[in-house]
């Protein structure tokens, strides 16, 4: 799988793609629900959107994009039969994931200290639901990447057989992709 010829199937185990589609469907519905509910409560949404920390969101977006890029490098390395390189890039990606969790965690800490929760108002219901659901996906994605990284370190993958790396990578990119929409939709568009 090194050449540039076209494939019939996406990289990784096909099962993960079935679930990527399911996840995208759920997030898609959530995003649409957010957009249409906002249309009925424009003032409320615009007011409370201002309480969100866009700088934190910037750091988080950069962290996820960078992390995704590191995963791309990890895949490139394993395709070149370089298990050590693959492992290191995955660790770097995990580091970026951790940065995301810390920054997002600080944001939550701020909100919770003000007593904000799912029942505060419709905007916060959506904001917390969407970001927390995504937050958990970051955690899950990191667990997957960690498992892949540990196996890579033990030399469990090779240029000939590295479906596991591609599977984990595809999932992680999906987590990144969803945030690409979530960031402008919830933090910026008004």
């Amino acid at each position: 799988m090194t050449g540039m010829e076209k494939n019939r199937w996406p990289p990784g185990d096909l099962v993960i793609w079935i679930f990527i589609m399911a996840e995208l469907l759920v997030f898609g519905v959530f995003f649409t629900a957010y957009a249409f509910t906002r249309a009925h409560n424009v003032e409320l949404f615009d007011t409370y959107q201002l309480t969100l920390d866009r700088n934190a969101a910037l750091i988080n977006t950069l962290a996820l994009i960078t992390s995704s890029y590191f995963v791309v490098r990890a895949v490139a390395d394993i395709r070149a039969d370089d298990s050590r390189g693959c492992f290191r890039w995955l660790l770097a990606a995990l580091g970026m994931g951790l940065l995301f969790l810390v920054v997002k965690g600080l944001e939550y800490k701020h909100h919770f200290s003000l007593g904000i929760d799912l029942s505060t108002n419709t905007f916060y219901m959506f904001y917390l639901s969407l970001t927390f659901f995504h937050f958990l996906h970051v955690v899950l994605g990191m667990v997957i990447l960690l498992a892949v990284a540990l196996k890579a370190r033990k030399g469990g993958y090779s240029a000939a057989e590295h479906t596991g790396v591609e599977t984990g990578a595809s999932y992680w990119h999906m987590v990144d992709l969803v945030w690409m929409i979530l960031f402008p939709l919830v933090y910026v568009m008004r």
Binding site: A22, S119, S129
Partner: protein, 467 residues
């Protein structure tokens, strides 16, 4: 039948069918009470008859599940049950306890039954589907634990197939979530919140694991498709079931005093619940199309395919109809719910148990693989009569429900409940007729066990045409 201990399944299956008849008879009684309000009053009030109808359903399905497990676990594990005697003993205990409970419902007023069984020590009675006296509930836990020990140890001892593991997980989940039946706080919101951990997490959660594994077993046996393929899809489907179904519990948390975020979480996730059912339908038909051989037991294949289709229609489509919170605002607690309940229970759980009985019973009665053609033809008549009647019961109740929602909740001048009930009488009458046709289907189904037993087994006609 490869292992002697599989034989215990037969008792369970016979009891299941017997109780099924009882369930339908009481269904007809409450159906009649919808038309003639004073029918059998005050001897058998509606609430008592309904309790018998629903409790018999649950008990016979449990008998069916346990029978199915006792049949398929040894075959999958390639070893005899570790304790066949325990399976026999538990059968009689469960049957006696079940019968005593039903008789208790019928012979003494419910309040007196509560007093006799010391409900005040640990009040658990009087909640929908959990009407059993506390002592019966404890009995159910004991039966469930012995059952789990029996199949669990058998599975540990023998070959560990995916089907066995999924079945064991489903059965364990069934036992674990039943424990919430013992939590009954005065706070009605909390009571209802955890009541659903029994009811929803059973029928839209762990029971579906049981359904999936039994269906996979029948498909492996009747189509000859590679086990690897079937087990892989089984995992994909049950993963989707739980991914959508667990948070999907939220569609019960719209109007019971729970916070508003459930409107969104419940709507979004439960809207996805038809997906696994759809996958199951596609999967079942695919496997049958890709079959490596024709199985002489056509009736069993028909039941299996029927399960996939009717579960999708009843649980998937009819569930989706009223699962979104803006729709459910109007339909909650109306005949729409009843319509969905009837087709979903029949399509998913009644049919899978009957599919398993259809597959296993010929072997349990000493046949090689299938009943005679004559018997199968009759069985398939039973299949069609029952299935078509349940479709009509569902349609009539849906009609009743739509009218009820409009008159009682949607119209400019909402009418009182009892006035509306009189206006939808016609649908109840039609439903009762469909109910009698269902009963005739059930009787034909039972007759099929006694017809053509002397005739030779059905054989496979023709070779498989690869598609």
């Amino acid at each position: 039948m490869k292992y002697k201990s599989q034989k215990v399944a037969k008792l369970y299956f016979i009891a299941a069918i017997g109780l099924f008849v009882g369930q339908i008879l009481f269904g007809l009684i409450i159906g009649a009470q919808y038309i003639w309000g004073d029918f059998l009053f005050p001897e058998i009030p509606f609430n008592v008859a309904r309790m018998v109808h629903t409790n018999l359903l649950i008990v016979w399905l449990l008998f069916g599940f346990m029978g199915a497990a006792y049949y398929l676990v040894p075959e999958e594990a390639e070893t005899d049950l570790v304790m066949p005697w325990l399976a026999n003993l538990m059968f009689w205990i469960f049957l006696t306890a079940g019968a005593a409970t039903i008789l208790g419902y019928l012979l003494v007023p419910y309040a007196q039954l509560a007093e006799l069984t010391k409900n005040e020590l640990l009040p658990t009675m009087g909640r929908e589907f959990l009407e059993q006296p506390t002592i019966t509930k404890i009995g159910i836990v004991i039966v469930a634990l012995s059952f789990l020990a029996n199949i669990g140890l058998t599975i540990l001892k023998g070959r560990k197939t995916v089907i066995n593991l999924v079945l064991l997980m489903g059965m364990t989940g069934l036992a674990v979530f039943f424990l919430f039946a013992f939590y009954n706080p005065v706070n009605v919101v909390l009571d209802k919140y955890y009541w659903w951990w029994v009811v929803h997490l059973w029928v839209e959660g762990v029971w579906e694991l049981i359904l999936g594994s039994i269906l996979a077993f029948i498909l492996i046996k009747t189509t000859g498709v590679d086990r690897e393929v079937i087990e892989k899809w089984l995992y994909v489907i049950i993963a989707m079931v739980l991914i959508t179904g667990i948070i999907g519990t939220g569609h019960h948390y719209y109007w019971i005093g729970t916070p508003a975020f459930w409107q969104w979480w419940g709507s979004i996730f439960s809207a996805m619940e038809p997906i696994p059912f759809f996958m199951m339908t596609v999967f079942a038909f695919n496997m049958v199309n890709k079959r490596r051989r024709n199985h002489p037991n056509k009736a069993a294949v028909l039941w299996a395919l029927g399960t996939a289709v009717m579960a999708f229609l009843g649980a998937g489509v009819w569930g989706f109809l009223h699962t979104l919170s803006p729709v459910n605002y109007y339909t909650h607690g109306t005949q729409i719910t009843a319509a969905h309940g009837h087709m979903a229970f029949y399509g998913a759980y009644v049919m899978i148990v009957l599919a398993m009985i259809s597959y296993a019973m010929p072997m349990l009665r000493g046949r090689e693989a299938a009943n005679s053609t004559k018997s199968q033809v009759l069985e398939m008549w039973g299949f069609w009569l029952m299935t078509i009647s349940i479709v009509f019961i569902t349609l009539f109740l849906t009609g009743a429900g739509i009218l009820q929602v409009y008159l009682q909740r949607f119209a400019d001048n909402p009418m009182p409940f009892m006035v509306v009930q009189e206006k939808i009488q016609l649908f109840y009458a039609l439903r009762e007729i469909a109910g009698f046709i269902f009963l005739s289907g059930l009787l034909i189904y039972i007759v099929s066990f006694f017809v053509g037993s002397k005739e030779p087994e059905a054989t496979i006609e023709g070779e498989v045409v690869p598609t």
